[in-house]
């Protein structure tokens, strides 16, 4: 099976969009064979990546646009999130040390725990950033 784009979503960088996107991500996960807890975890990871774009890339500017592309093939499910904000300092994207208890700093940790691969970069053909998150399907 070749890699196919299942769908593409575009929405404003606003927290009230997150609840609309979660059921879709959950259904996608289920349809490609991720059941129960794993589907919920993928929902969490995609949600956290969107939150980071809203809070850190667009810094709360709700007019910013987010694009979520979901692709799959027989072996993996790929979530690609794009923003058109100023290029972010990729080195600064780090989870906190979990033993250093403080509010925050969990999002990137969740994403890394849940996904099998995760790459961030700057868009080539426009101003902005992307994050690609891959989950292998067994």
């Amino acid at each position: 099976m070749k890699t196919q784009k299942l769908l593409e979503l575009r929405f404003q960088a606003s927290a009230d969009r997150l609840c609309l996107i979660r059921p879709l991500v959950k259904r996608v996960a289920e349809v490609v064979g991720c059941q129960g807890d794993l589907a919920d975890q993928l929902v969490l990871a995609v949600n956290e990546a969107c939150m980071n774009v809203i809070q850190h890339a667009y810094k709360g500017d709700e007019t910013g646009e987010i694009v979520l592309e979901i692709l799959n093939n027989k072996k993996k499910l790929l979530f690609r999130l794009k923003d058109f904000a100023e290029p972010v300092d990729l080195e600064s994207v780090q989870p906190r040390d979990l033993d250093d208890l403080r509010p925050g700093g969990l999002g990137t940790h969740f994403i890394r725990e849940i996904m099998d691969e995760c790459v961030m970069g700057h868009l080539k053909d426009a101003q902005g950033n992307y994050i690609e998150m891959i989950k292998r399907i067994s």
């Binding site: 609840c19 809070q55 509010p103 925050g104 969990l106």
Partner: protein, 110 residues
């Protein structure tokens, strides 16, 4: 997210319900910190939480730390499966005092 509060056995119990995400976690945070500012011992009931994200978890961490500093009691009760699996991912299931119910917490307080 919906929330309500009740008093039980010397605690203020804050019931969170539904999805605790970035759109409402500031609200949850405010409820938690307001209760602690009033000097209450606080239990957050998560039995009806169907989803919680890192911003919701951050509010709980902040409540826990604020209570600790002030010498007030804090804990989680009735943590739903959905919430528990997020707390586990964050390795917080062994940090927070967690009890199945308000009654159990009170019994253990002795």
């Amino acid at each position: 997210m919906n929330y309500s509060t009740r008093e039980e056995g010397g605690y203020l119990v804050l019931d969170l319900e539904g999805e605790v995400d970035l759109s409402c976690s500031p609200d949850a945070r405010k409820q938690i910190l307001d209760a602690l500012a009033k000097g209450k011992n606080l239990l957050v009931d998560l039995s009806d939480v169907s989803y919680i994200d890192s911003s919701g978890v951050a509010s709980l961490v902040e409540g826990y730390q604020t209570a600790k500093k002030a010498g007030q009691k804090f804990g989680l009760v009735g943590v739903s499966e959905a919430a528990m699996s997020v707390l586990k991912l964050a390795r917080l299931d062994r940090v927070f005092p967690i009890h199945p119910s308000v009654e159990e917490r009170i019994r253990e307080d002795g």
